[in-house]
Each structure stands twice: as structure tokens, then as C-alpha cells.
């Protein structure tokens, strides 16, 4: 990271730092003991890390927040080896946290700042008694796909809370408002399309949802509509959309393969389905396998060629 930045500055017309770095680094190669060499380089790189101003980037970013969490006693910065390992972990008693970053992330300081803000804002929520994080968990009995969906919705709502707060502070977060809107539309596709834009705007401007409220909405998105009396009419216009990974109403297996032509199914196939599922309507949907089985069965029952 250090040498990459020095090199970048060198090619942009700032050779002094590179010269100094090499002047101090070259003798280290002459050291006879390997461990001495390594220690020398470690010290050298730490010096330059500071001189390049990296530690202050993090400190400045965290100072942008008006109300730092008082319970937190220390924040450690550690190296992440993979991109998806980057982020903040909170210690069990809430007084210690670790920020994991990849060295490569320092190459793009604005992006680094946005990411740290985003993570830090989440951490602040977790330590904010008003947010009430961790008070309630997912209910038992959800299938893995359902659980995934709830988590995804939770993530979207929490991100909206965090990013809108950063926006109100005049800070640029990791996600733009537009990105948040897209995520909301994807995660809450079950809601009527006409209701989604006003809902998103209210979520963005309100921004004080608690953990418990977010979880309830994630579990039952329709509940979000009922919170706004002027939007409840939209409930009646709810569009049919079948969730990937949701259970087929016939076989109850989670399915990613909904029968796309279910609304225009042949009458005899519909009848065959209703003979086993009297209350079933095409709008309820069905997986491809189930529909196909009724179609095949009707065909075979018409003709039995076995002697």
C-alpha cells in the first residue's frame, strides 16, 4: 500500500518521497539476518504510512459523526484479506470493536471514507439504546429462502436508515439514494408498484425506525403500508408476484421455477389442480413441476396402452 502510493506520487511528479524511501530501504537489504530485515521494513513502512496521512483519514472520518457511541472504549484496525471481510465487528460486551480493511482500499481514499462512514453508522445504531438492536430475532419455522428474504429486506431498510442519516449530515455514504431506491424496489416487489415511490421517500425522510420496527416490516411488508393511512388503498391493488425461493402453494417445496403461464392454464389442467386443491386460483401461482404433473396426468389418463 505504502509503496504503491509512493510510486503513484512519483509518476505524478513528486519524486522526493520515493527517493527518501529508497534511501532508507536500500540499506535494509544489506542486513544479514532475515528477521532484522523484516523488522526494518516494518518500521519503515509504518513511518511512511503515518507520513502519507492514512491514520488521520480514519480518525477524521469518524470525527464527522456528532454523537460517537459512549460505550465504545476502543476501536482496532486490522487487515482484511478479502473484500467481503471488510467491515466492523463489535465485541461481545460492546466496548471493543474491530475495523477490518484491505490495504488496497487505501488506494481510493474517497471510497474508503464512504465505506467507513457506512460501517460506523451501523455500529452507532447497534450501540444506540433507542435503536434497540438485538432485542428480537427471526421467528422459528421460516424456510431458508424465506429467512433469506427477510434478512435481505432488513438489510435494505437498515441501509436506508443509515444512508439517509448520513445524507442529512451532509456526508456521502457508501450507497447513493438511487441505489437504496433500487434495493427497496427489489426487496419489496410484493408491494403494489404505485405505492413504492411514496413509501421509499417516507422511509428516506423519516429515518428513525427501530430494530424492532424494521424487523416487523421485513417480516410483513404489507404492514408498512398500513402505517400510512393514505396508502392503504393500494393494498387492494396488490399485484401478484411469486417470490423466488418461496413455497409453491401446491407442493409447498420452495421454488425458483414458477410456472409463467399459470394465468392462462388450460381449463382441464386447472380443473385437475382444483380437484386436489379446491381453493386454488391461478393467481396463487404454482411451480412448473406441479403444473406439468397435472398436464401429463391428464394426458396419460386419457390413454392407457398397457395390456
Amino acid at each position: 500500500m505504502v509503496s504503491a502510493e509512493i510510486h503513484r506520487r512519483e509518476v505524478h511528479g513528486e519524486p522526493d518521497l520515493a527517493k527518501e524511501y529508497h534511501r532508507r530501504a536500500d540499506p535494509l537489504y544489506e542486513l544479514p539476518r532475515e528477521d532484522s530485515r523484516e523488522e526494518g521494513f516494518r518500521r519503515l513502512n509504518r513511518d511512511f504510512f503515518t507520513r502519507l496521512g492514512y491514520p488521520s483519514i480514519l480518525a477524521e472520518t469518524l470525527r464527522e459523526f456528532p454523537d460517537p457511541p459512549t460505550r465504545l472504549r476502543s476501536l482496532w484496525v486490522a487487515r482484511a484479506t478479502r473484500k467481503w471481510d471488510e467491515g466492523i465487528d463489535l465485541g461481545a460486551n460492546g466496548s471493543l470493536s474491530i475495523l477490518r480493511l484491505r490495504p488496497a482500499s487505501f488506494a481510493d481514499v474517497p471510497s474508503l471514507r464512504r465505506m467507513v462512514r457506512h460501517e460506523w453508522a451501523h455500529l452507532c445504531d447497534m450501540l444506540d439504546p433507542a435503536f434497540g438492536y438485538g432485542g428480537r430475532s427471526l421467528p422459528a419455522g421460516l424456510s431458508p429462502p424465506e429467512e433469506n428474504l427477510v434478512r435481505e429486506r432488513y438489510r435494505v431498510l437498515w441501509d436506508i436508515r443509515v444512508e439517509s442519516r448520513l445524507s442529512r449530515l451532509g456526508l456521502q455514504g457508501w450507497l447513493t439514494k438511487e441505489k437504496c431506491r433500487q434495493a427497496f424496489n427489489a426487496g419489496f416487489a410484493k408491494l403494489p408498484a404505485c405505492s413504492r415511490p411514496p413509501l421509499f421517500e417516507r422511509l428516506w425522510s423519516f429515518g428513525r425506525w427501530t430494530h424492532r420496527e424494521i424487523l416487523e416490516i421485513a417480516l410483513d411488508p404489507r404492514g408498512l403500508l398500513s402505517r400510512f393511512s393514505d396508502l392503504t388503498e393500494a393494498l387492494e391493488e396488490e399485484e401478484k408476484s411469486w417470490l423466488f425461493g418461496g413455497p409453491c402453494p401446491l407442493c409447498s417445496f420452495p421454488t425458483w421455477e414458477w410456472e409463467t403461464g399459470v394465468l392462462t392454464l388450460e381449463d382441464h389442467v386447472q380443473e385437475a389442480i382444483r380437484s386436489d386443491f379446491p381453493g386454488w386460483r391461478p393467481e396463487d401461482g404454482a411451480c412448473r413441476r406441479c403444473v406439468e404433473s397435472y398436464r401429463f396426468r391428464a394426458l396419460l389418463e386419457a390413454e392407457k396402452p398397457v395390456g
Binding site: 473484500k83 461481545a92 465505506m115 429462502p145 424487523l215 425461493g245 409447498s252 386436489d276
Partner: protein, 1148 residues
Amino acid sequence: MDVTRRHFLGMVAAAGAGSLVADHGLALAALKPTVQVENPLESYPDRGWERVYRDQYRYDSAFAYVCSPNDTHACRMRAYVRNGVVMRIEQNYDVDRYADLEGNRATVNWNPRGCLKGYTLHRRVYGPYRMKYPIVRKGWKEWADSGFPELTPELRSKYRFDARGQDEFVRLLWEEAYTYIARGMIAIAKRYSGPEGARRLRDQGYPPEMIEEMEGAGTRTIKLRGGMGLLGVFGKYGLYRLSNMLAILDSLIRGVGPDEARGGRNWSNYTWHGDQAPGHPWVHGLQTSDCDFNDLRFSKLIIMDGKNLVENKMPESHFFIECMERGAKIVVIAPEYGPPSTKADYWIPIRPQSDTALFLGITKILIDENRFDVDFVKRFTDFPLLVRTDTLKHLKPQEFIPGYQEKDISRGASFRVQGLTAEQQKALGDFVVWDSKSAGPKVITRDDVGGKMVAQRLDPALEGRYTVKTVDGKEVEVMPLFEMYRVHLKDYDLETVHQITHAPKKLIRRLAEDIASTKPAAIHQGEGINHYFHATEINRSAYLPMMLTGNIGFPGAGVHTWAGNYKAGVFQGSAWTGPGFAGWVKEDPFHLNLDPNSPGRDVKVRAYAKGEEPAYWNHGDVPLIVKTPRYGRKVFTGQTHMPSPTKAIFFNNVNLINNAKHAYEMIKNVNPGVELIISADIQMTASIEYADFGLPANSWMEFEGLEVTASCSNPFLQIWKGGIRPLYDSKDDIVILAELAAKMSEITGDRRFADMWKFVLEGRREVYIQRMLDTSTTTKGYKLEDIMAGKYGESGAALMLFRTYPRVPFWEQVHEDIPFYTDHGRLQAYSDLDEAIEYGENFIVHREGPEATPYLPNVIVSSNPFIRPDDYGVAQSAEHWDERTVRNVKMPWSQVQKTKNFLWEKGYRFFCTTPKTRHRVHSQWSDTDWSLIWESNFGDPYRMDKRSPGVGEHQLHINPQAAKDLGINDGDYVYVDANPADRPYVGWKPNDPFYKVSRLMLRAKYNPAYPYNFAMMKHAPYIATERSVKAHETRKDGRALSAGTGYQANLRYGSQQSLTRNWHMPMHQTDTLFHKKKAAMSFLFGGESDNHAINTVPKETLVRISKAEDGGLGGRGVWAPAKTGFTAGDENDFMKRYLEGIVKVKKD
């Protein structure tokens, strides 16, 4: 790219402590040194712990036993015992000492023998899944206690015959178990005997042909299956002796004498497994051609066609791999780039089930370019025989020679060596060639092969069209078969073969060149081939290049197959030795030889039991009968194959129901009609969960008396007993059968049942063993006590008395001019049987499968005018599986290409194969923890993902791009579905709870070795059952461990048998095929189970694959290993560069 949120979101689930940082204080405390040592050499506090390490190999005693699963090896292993417990198992390194009566010794190169299965047997023996005592299903017991009332639909439900999987089991004492079973068998035999029994069966809907087949005997409804009998000739095959014994029961029930009495039906093993190469009897008349494994090293060209010796023949695969360093060329033909391909000089990728076209293409090249051995072809094959172009039959001498009588060959090899009878010779007749020297037709007999034909100064023509005037004055055209093949092969030019097979033209050409120029050459076909519906044609076609180049009957040459230790024929009887193996399984129960000192050849043999294919039970308990538009109701199953209705099933050492194709159909729709199911096994299996009785048998290392085995792939006779006491209330298989028979004597008052097992009951089973040794062609002269005393090297071991070591099939034919076991004594490229002509398979021809094809199901690819199949008027749009099975439509490839398979059109676009596993044999070892961990990419002893049914789980291999196109990530759970009309079972409905049990869901694993439209899962895992599904859905730990039975499933839902079904291949069911009996030097026409019979074909399956659940822990996100960048299909840049060879390794 979003920042990962799992640190936060993980906490939503409250239990998210896993993402929190550990308490540092605790960690540091844990690191404190416990003991301060200045100088460890001077003072060391306590070295006692080292004894644990030093002592781990200490043992009190050791013993050798034979690991005898159905993998054809039968390795002798050595178990080391400490405090009465087997601590470890090792290879015995003994084979170099094995000798025969003449002092020949086995080569040291066989050593070492034994694999990881053998090493882990003690994990099975001491594991938690053993059968510990006899059990009976509660509902069945209530039925018995109620006096076995006739089972109406209501009573079937009352006694839970239609819900076996939800019933409970009750513990029994052995005496009680024998009593119940004996009473049950007697009740069933009585109920279905005579006219009243026939009426009942008619009422139940059985076709008349099946009922007639019983000849009035209710005992014919009792089906017995000794689980791969050769694995324990006395205990396992003993079930067939029990079956023969049932003739006594029949005689008592119906009051008939021995001439009319009938025993049970003996269910097959080899063909039932789909392991036989069904085309072999069509070529040479022998059940199977297989050589000893150490013959492989003689090959200079060794072609593996659908054979995976590396994974499936672990102890002996080195003989194949050695070919690399011995300078042989190795060729692999397979759709996937599998383990054997890594050893190959070149791999020919091929579209599944198109191998026949490949071999026909190679044959065409060899013939067109005159690259064949004319002398061998004329001497040993049917290519010179004349065929009438009008009838497609061989020209017979009596057709053009007035008053012709068959030549007298009664002093020749056919009669004197092979046991041909005069009646058979009359039925076969003599044959005709066109003699080039005299320019006219000449008669030859089946003895006129090889030098014997040459001695007649005949030079049969291979080419030309001739006219013969028949005795009725007609002029008919005849052609040597060779000439007809020139016409036939016009459909198989290089370009067409390439289009059919997808094999590169260059490689097809190269293989033809190699076969033409290399000797000895061998083709080895595995069950990978035999599991195709048209395996018959693939097997036959593989012989063509070998027949043309004279690569038969020499070391390192031939066409062979190994899959399953089927070969009762290694204990073959003969006119000069006595009955051999038949003396054990077919001893006449009405004329028992009870003199222990009587020579074995004095044992009277009579078959009261009859072989039968379980395939019929597996097909709704019916034969192949189709209502055809042209002929109405047509029975395709030959009379010699005809099954009888199934009312009782008794099997040992096999997981019959688990391993049945279409298993859930059996459980749901067929077995409710079966009134008694008995399984004897060492472990709790799905078959026992769906049986009425579970009987605990001793394991190989617990045997209390001697047992015998041998093999189709090595020359070793193996006799052994166990070395530890049985752990539970279990018994030797043979003892279970003998004591059951004794109970029948007690109940009926007829002592012949017990007498049938007299020497077992007296603890002298050695009498039976010695009788078999005395009367088998391969063991005559051996004394059991000598063998056990180690006279032939190792106690219990000796070499079978084969004529050559290694054993080379057809050595006698080629070197001593003995006829092959066919009609005409020659290797057969053509069949003029009525059935073969009708089905369009008189020539060896490529057909698409009835299901596993993108094209018209079952179409014959040919324009040959000498192929004239009957389609019976079945429409090309017909979708029923039996209609597709019998429809014979001929088209040239140019037309076939334009046809479609309706299933392919509906998205069923994956060929799905279920080959043998690396670390199991069928389903054995499927609950062994170590095997489960090794067997898949999802083995995890900690079960971090609680969805895993056990410490491992089954997986589907799929091409990464194909999976990605379906939105499936590496490691995701997927559904695999086949034709919804009949799978997982006929009549399934989405709301049937059993559908949930039976629909296959398993992990997908990216594997770029597999082509795009190809998926693979290893076969015979422990299937999901009603109890196991309930278990994993309700247990806290999520294990698929059945409550009440302790059965451990390998899958959450379904199994590979959710996809497979039985197919009644017509060519497997003729009454006319002439061939050698499997265990005697004699011949028969038509069916014999394990020999010419339905060979099951699990590969005849097209599937559709769809995503079910995310593969990440607990169903969240992507399976973690797939995110590392180092897994197939998800490689990161570094890995890609590494695979491309760009990463340089620094050398100091």
C-alpha cells in the same frame, strides 16, 4: 458492489454470537504454559502419555477374513484385536503364496489387495447402525395373530401394508421370528395355490400369463434373493436352496408328487443390478467375457469404454495403470473426462449411449480399407455364413439339399465338451457358406470352426451376392454376412458417426488406426455401458473391431466387462465332475443325500425353483404386455422369462428396496400388494424400514462357521470364518435359513425341511463345502481341510483350477478349435432370431434410447434394406414408457436429426447417470462415517450446516456453465426431476406427503469434467424414507436419523431412485436365443436370470434440474468454498492464471 453486511445481519438471529469477537483475556489465559522445564533432556515431568502413542498398534491377536462385498475383489484382510475388539484392519499381503494343485503360484504383483472399504469394516461392525435382534412390523404381526385373513383393501390399510414406512417394529426372539415367518410363508403359499389361488390373483388384476406360469403352485409367489450369492456361496446362495426346498411345501399343500411340485422363484442379482453386458450372450453365447485382472498388463492397446477402473476397482486398478509404463496405449471413451481419462493417451468424448455408432464407424473404416484379419474372420466369425435376403434368415442346407439330415457331430466338441444335446442340434441345424474354391454353397456344422474348417479345405467367400435354388424350386438371393455388412455400414461413414456421437473425427480415425495396427488389443466395457437401454447393441458393436482384427482369445485381448461378482460359473458343474454349485442350490429335496461321506457327484440335482427377474416386480409386478394398434394385446416377455405374481420376498445381504430403480414406486404402489417382506442384513437399511421382518446377520468378521467366495476378476478361491464373537443377537446367514427350515419341519411335521439343512444344523456345513469342491470343474481335487491348513499358501486360500493364469476367455476356442457357445459355434455379428428381426436388431445397429435422447425415442438409425422392423402401429407421438419401449422405427440419420423427444422439448435436457461410488459398494458403507466424509465435497464431521442429513451428503455433479445458466450456484441444493408422468412414482400428487419424501433434493457440485447436458450422481446412497424425513425436519440437530429404527439417510429428500425406472427391454426377453447356461457345461434356449434376462438400465433417464435452496450455511448465500476463488467454475484471476499455466514456480 455492496459492503458485506453479515456482521450486522448475523446478529438479527440473536444467536449471532458467532460473529462477535472472542474474549481476549480468556484466550491469553489458555496460552499460559502449564509446566516449566529448564532442560527437557535432564528432567521431564511425565512421559507416561507417550505410551498412548506407542501402544496404539499393540494387539492381542490377529485373524484374517475376507472382505466380500459386491466389488469382485474379495480381498483377504487382517484384523488386529485388542481386548476382544478389532482395533484396525490391514491388507494381508498373502497372494503371492496362493498355489494350486499343480504347484502354480499367483504372481506377487497382485499384492497388496484391499482398499479403504476393507480398512473401515470395523467402523461398520461396531457402528451404531447394526441390526441387533430380530424385529417384526407391528401391523404384520397383528395380521399374523389374526390368522392371516385374506387382505382386502381395507385390511391392507388396517395392517399397514400400504404404510409400512410409518408402522412400528417389535422385537422378537429368534424362535418367534422363525415361527411367524414359517407360518406366513405357509399361509401365502396356501392362499395362492390351485384354482382358488389363481382366481384371487386374477381378481387382483394379474395377467393370465403370470398366473399360468405358477402351474398352480402358491410357492411360486415367493421370491428369494441371495444378495449376490457368490459373495457367500453357502449363506447367501443358501436362499436358493431354501427356494428349491419350497417344493416340499408345495407338495404338502397341493398333495402333489415331486414331478408336479414347484419351488419358489429365485430373483437374480447381476442383471437386476444392470451389471451384465447383455450383448455378450448375443455374440459368443457366454454369460459374460471377463478376464483375470492381471491379464490387463498384456494389452498393447487398452480401450476403456464407459469403464472407470481407477475409482471402481481400487485394489486392482494398478494393473490398468501399469499399462502406461509397460508401453501400451490407453484410450478412454466416455462422455466425461473422468479419472481413467487422466491415464489415457487420448480421451474420446462421446454423446451418451452412442457408442454403437462409434464402433460401427470404426468397423466401416477397417472393412473399407481392408484392415482386417481375413483368416480369423473366416475361421471364427459368422461373417462367411450365407443369409437369405428375402427372409433375413441363415440359409439352411435342407432348404436347397433335398432330404438333408444334420451331420453327425456327436463325437465332436459340441457334444463332448460343451454338452450340446441331439435335440438342440436338430433345432439349430447346420449352416452354409459359399466356397470360393468350388464356387458353390457348402455345409458347415457348429464344430467346423478354426482349424477344423480349414481341414475341410473350404475357403468361404466373404463377398458377393449369390443365387441358390431351393428344394421347392424357388431361386433365392443369398449373401455372406460380410457383404451385407458393407451395405449396412453405409449409414456409418465418418461424418455421420461424428454427428451421432459428437466424437471428434480425428480421434475416431485415430482409434481405427490403432485397432488396425496394434495387437493384442482389448476393449473393456463397464457398467457405464451396461446401464444403457441399448447396451445390447453397444456390447455387440464393441466386438466387431475385435472380431475383424483377431483380438479374441489371446492374453491382453478381447472385449470384457466387470461389474458385480456374479459368477456362479466359477463353481461350474460338468458331466465329468458332477453338479458343482448346483449340488448346493438345487439338491433334490425329495431325494436328499444325507450321508456325509457320500461323494458329491452322488447328490441328486433337480431344479424345483425357477429363476426370475426382479425387474418384473420393479415394473408394477407385470411383464411387458402392450396394446398395440396393429396387433392388439401383444406379450413381449418370452415364456422362458415369464414372472409369477409376487406375494412374498425374502432377501439377504442386499438393500433391495433402496437399490430398486423407481424405489418410491415400489414402496407406494407395488409393495402394498406384497404380503411378506423379509430382509436379513447386518445393518438397518431402508429396505428393512419398508419390510415386515428384519433379521440380524453376522458380519464377515463375526462368521461362526466357514463361508466360501471366489471372483470373476481373479483366480482366488477364498474360504474363511470370523475372528470375533458376534456383537449382538445375530447369526450366520446359513444358520438363519437352516433354523427357519427346521421350524417348517416342526410346524408341518415333515422332517425333510430340516433334512435339507442337516449338516448345517449339526454344525458340519463343511460336508456341503467339500461336495461342491469335489464336483466343480475348477476345484475338483481340493480337500477343504488341506485348504484350511494352509497347504496352498494361506489358510483358506487357493488358486481356482483354470486352464491359464491369467484366465483368458475363449482361449480354448481360438487355440483348440472349440466352438463358441453360439448357434453356429462362431462369434456372431448377426442374429436371425425372429425377435431380433422384428425389433430391427438383426444387424448390430445404433438406436437412440427410449428416454435419454434429444431425438425420437428408440429410433433405429439405419437405411439398411435388410433391417425391417415392426413398429406395431405405435404412433411416433406416443409417450407411454412401454410404447416407447416396443416401437421400432427405422430412419437414416439425416431424418433422425429432425425428430424430437417430447421430454427434451419440455426441458428435461440432462442425461443423468448413477455410476458406482469410490468408497462404497452399492449401498454398503453408506452409513460409515469415514466413507461419508470422503465420498462427497460436503463431508463435514461437525455438520456446521445443520441441513446436512449426516456427516456427509449426496451430491450431483454438473457442468458449471449449465448450472450457471439455471441460476444454480456451486453447492446449492437443487431438485432433480424426471418425467412427471411416472416419477418419483405413478400417480404422485403435490399434496401427498409421500411426494415430499420422494422428490430428490441434493447438493449441486460444479464439475467441469462433465459436458453441458450431463449430470452425474453416484448410486445407491441410503435413500430418504418417511422416518428419515420426519427426523431431519423435527430433530434439533437436523440429522436424517430415523426415530425407532436408527436408520441414517444420506439425503434430505428422495434419492437417485426418484429418477430411475425399470425398462422392459425386449431384446433381453427372447425365448429363442441359444447360449450357454451360466453354471454348467450345457446350453439352453431363451431366458435364464443373470444370463439372458432383463438387464436394468438406470441410465435411461432424462432429468430437469432447478434450484431449491442456497448452498451457504443454513441456506444463506453461496456455499463458502465456492467463494474462495479456487473452486471449479468460480476461479479467481490467480486460479485462472494457474490453470492456464501462466503462474511460474520459482526454482532455487
